[in-house]
Amino acid sequence: MNGDENRDEQMPTELVGRLRALASKTAVLVPRSVDEAVLLQARKHFSEVRRRRARFTAAWWTAAAASIALMAVVGLSLIQRPRYERADIDRNGRVDILDAFALARTLQRGAVKGPDMNGDGVVNRADVDIIAAQAVKLKKGRV
């Protein structure tokens, strides 16, 4: 290939016109029957595509709705789970002297399980005292 071939060579406009005229002399006209045959197939194809897509969309929405429902159920169960104060050892919904006793008994048995009320890193007598103090503390404004 020489340098000339690297250019996008042009043909004289008149000759291009002749070539196009030549091609159009033999132009094939597409009859309606061919249009109808192709377009009928196209409509069938696209209606099938739409049907498939609708089925897929319905399945997708069903799955999405099921997921949302499941999440709602799990979320609600988490929300509704009773929350206890750390000091409520017996989980009866209030902190009272029985909680202090319960922790004291646990410590007496040698276990170190329980709330670290003062945050000193160990569960001991001091934590029992804090729970006891909390249990006997009067609410503000009450006598």
Binding site: V16, R18, T26, V34, D35, V38, A42
Partner: protein, 193 residues
């Protein structure tokens, strides 16, 4: 009455050229819009028909190829991605389907098979004969490139993609074809004006 209405609606579809680009029509067709595919069909059916005729040289077979080409194209939806010109995409399909149609017709007629090349453009009894004569003197590869470039208006890169050959080969064939036209007494005058 119903047939008439159908004819009218087809005529309207054909006349109302869709103003959307090929890419827009393809996106709409991918979304399930049959009308967008119809727009593409009406935009390219004549080109496909004429291209098929160039390969086969028979009107009826060319029309069969039109149907087969668009049915092949239809199966690409949804999910069709156009990475080039639509002509570039359709060209190999038209070419292969034309060759297959021609083979089938030859088998049916019991003739000796023709080579798998572009048919010579049918001669016309007018002043175009001189161009026609020179063109038919070119090899099918050179004629094919020349027609794609100057009649169909494809770029060198698009022709290379359509024919699945290197751009350099397209340029070389174009150069050779033009050199032939330039040297031939019947077409030399066009280059001298």
């Amino acid at each position: 009455m119903a047939a008439l209405e159908k004819d009218d609606s087809l005529a309207r579809l054909a006349e109302d050229e869709d103003s959307r680009s090929d890419h827009e029509l393809i996106a709409a067709a991918n979304a399930g819009d049959a009308g967008a595919f119809e727009g593409l069909y009406f935009r390219y059916r004549e080109w496909v028909a004429n291209l098929a005729y160039r390969f086969i040289g028979d009107h009826a077979l060319a029309l069969d190829v039109v149907q087969e080409t668009f049915l092949y194209f239809l199966q690409k939806f949804p999910g069709f991605v156009l990475t080039c010109q639509l002509k570039t995409f359709l060209y190999p399909a038209v070419r292969n389907l034309s060759i297959a149609a021609r083979r089938k017709a030859q088998r049916a007629q019991g003739d000796a098979p023709l080579p798998e090349t572009l048919e010579a453009l049918p001669s016309t009894a007018c002043s175009l004969d001189e161009v026609d004569g020179v063109l038919n003197g070119l090899s099918s590869e050179h004629r094919e490139v020349l027609l794609l470039r100057f009649v169909d208006g494809l770029t060198m890169a698009e022709i290379a993609e359509a024919l699945q050959i290197p751009v350099g080969t397209v340029k070389s064939r174009t150069h050779t074809a033009l050199a032939t036209l330039r040297a031939d007494e019947r077409t030399k005058k066009f280059f001298e004006r």
